[in-house]
Amino acid sequence: MKKTDKLKNEHRGQLYFIMRRFRKNKLAMFGLCLFAALTLVAVFANFLASYDNDALSHNMAERNQPPGAGHLLGTDHYGRDLFARVIFGARISLFIGILTILISLSVGAIIGAVAGYYGGRVDNLLMRIMDVFMAIPSILLAISIVAALGNGMWNLLLALSISGVPRFARIVRSSILTVKGQEFVEAARAYGTTDTGIILRHILPNSIGPIIVQATLSMATTILTISSLSFVGLGLPSSVPEWGAMLSEAKQFMMYYPHEIIVPGVAIVLAVMALNLIGDGLRDAMDPKLKN
């Protein structure tokens, strides 16, 4: 019985083992389920509520309703259904989060890969530029950029992406530096693999682990940053049901209608927590050394 199990395992990649360790991590699995649930909600939001009628339509007759039968999670100060807004908010937050990460990851990865692989002057130049961006706290940078370009989804996305680039560049660079020195890279060079071939086939696949971990954690940070920007008035307009914007809008009513601030707040906390749990879980799974 055991033998056959083993043989089967032999044909599975490292991913299988990572996933197995990940699956044993209860907290990480909880995070994953939570995130999956959020994603499902985001994807199927249309089936749960109507965007136009529930999430956007003002209804002054039903302002600030507490959670109850008519409105599951109550309504906000424009009489919009909070349940509908929070589920469409999942769509927006995840969309911005994922897209931001994708943009800053791809730009950061290219910069980091070039810097790490070629080293020397190229590295020095690129990293000094990254240093410049790193030396400005990212929220200040984001504030300046949004102020310059104006509030709005795409500008917000751009601002967040720009401030995320240096972090990814650094991570990619350092993991490339560790991988680069390994003998299998030298072996690949010995049989004539080109630089690009080495980066793409040998180095990047081996540095993907920390990058994925960073990506999940960064996404969590991004969601938090959006809400902070909303708070200082540089977020999205309220016609977009984004959680951070909901939160800062609800702030003025928080003493009287606490549900309005709790609902999006809890949504943010859950999403961020799920991402953190996944990121931590992945890190542990990829680095079994951390566990006994």
Partner: protein, 311 residues
């Protein structure tokens, strides 16, 4: 060592120049007219045009940048478009508040976060570990301003223990510092725990145990210092985050610091003020990081001898 510090200081120059350029460029992109802002919504167009001329706003971007930098290098950061007062004066009056926030924030995070992290690692798999990890997780997941508002509601309104907004007394710094500390605290708890766990697996810890050293000595004498080395660097990075996070914290608690100054100035396109504030923040971060690096060379003998030899 001096050479090392000198080199690091020199390396800060291009970074600062780079930052100044980026911010200047961003501010130039920002729509809005400082002259209009200054004169208010009821000003006449002629008056605005005249003032623009006076302020040198109709010159080429690069000319303006080089003029600004030239003055800045001579120590003249210019006058605020908004208040017409020297920028340096305004900065100096605001900076202490932000610095207090950031330092006490990070201090609190260190004083609470590191011991919890150690405890959590030492008691791995126990309820203490689970609770502190859970705590750290929740701490990282809460938006800072939300936390700030909740703290304010609880501690100043409901319990009536602390002032709600800044009023110049030290007690009014307590809530903001806690708010600001939470994020870094979470990072430090997790970081300390994981480096500690890593260190505990090292051979020299096994050697220490094989010597017959009691657990306390093993943890505090042998493991802790090694585990703290990477944590020290994290503190530097977190200090930067603190200065950034201060923006939010200052607006929640109405503290007049660099953060609120930044936001008002960015919004009003007060270029000299924004430039100076960002440069100031960046400079502070660089200096703190340099200090941490110097500290690092002193606590890590490996790095230390490297520099002492290099001298």
């Amino acid at each position: 060592m001096l050479k090392f510090i000198g080199k690091r200081l020199l390396m800060m120059i291009p970074v600062i120049l780079g930052i100044s350029f980026i911010i200047f460029a961003i501010m130039a992109l920002t729509p809005g007219n400082p002259a209009q802002m200054k004169l208010g919504e009821n000003a006449t167009p002629e008056a605005i045009a005249e003032l623009e001329e006076e302020m040198g706003l109709n010159e080429n971007f690069f000319v303006r940048y080089f003029k600004y930098m030239g003055n800045a290098l001579r120590g003249d950061l210019g006058n605020s478009y908004r208040t017409e007062l020297p920028v340096a004066q305004e900065l100096m009056s605001r900076f202490p508040n932000t610095l207090i926030l950031a330092f006490f924030g990070i201090g609190l995070a260190v004083v609470i976060g590191i011991p919890i992290g150690i405890l959590s690692a030492v008691k791995q798999y126990t309820i203490i570990d689970t609770v502190s990890l859970g705590l750290a997780l929740v701490m990282t997941s809460i938006p800072a301003f939300w936390l700030g508002l909740m703290l304010m509601l609880t501690f100043s309104l409901k319990l009536d223990l602390l002032p709600a907004v800044y009023d110049g007394t030290w007690t009014s710094f307590i809530l903001p510092c806690i708010t600001l500390a939470i994020g870094s605290m979470a990072t430090l708890i997790r970081m300390t725990r994981s480096t500690m766990l890593e260190v505990i697996r090292e051979d020299y810890i096994r050697t220490a145990r094989a010597k017959g050293a009691p657990e306390k000595v093993v943890i505090f004498r042998h493991a802790l210092r090694n585990a703290l080395l990477p944590v020290v660097t994290t503190i530097g990075i977190n200090f930067g985050l603190q200065l950034g996070g201060a923006v939010i914290c200052e607006s929640v608690f109405s503290i007049q610091g660099l953060g609120t100054l930044m936001i008002t100035s960015v919004r009003q396109k007060d270029v000299p003020m924004v430039m100076a504030a960002v440069l100031f923040v960046a400079l502070t971060i660089s200096i703190v990081n340099l200090l941490i690096d110097i500290l690092y060379t002193y606590i890590d003998p490996r790095v230390k001898s490297q520099y002492i030899k290099a001298r």
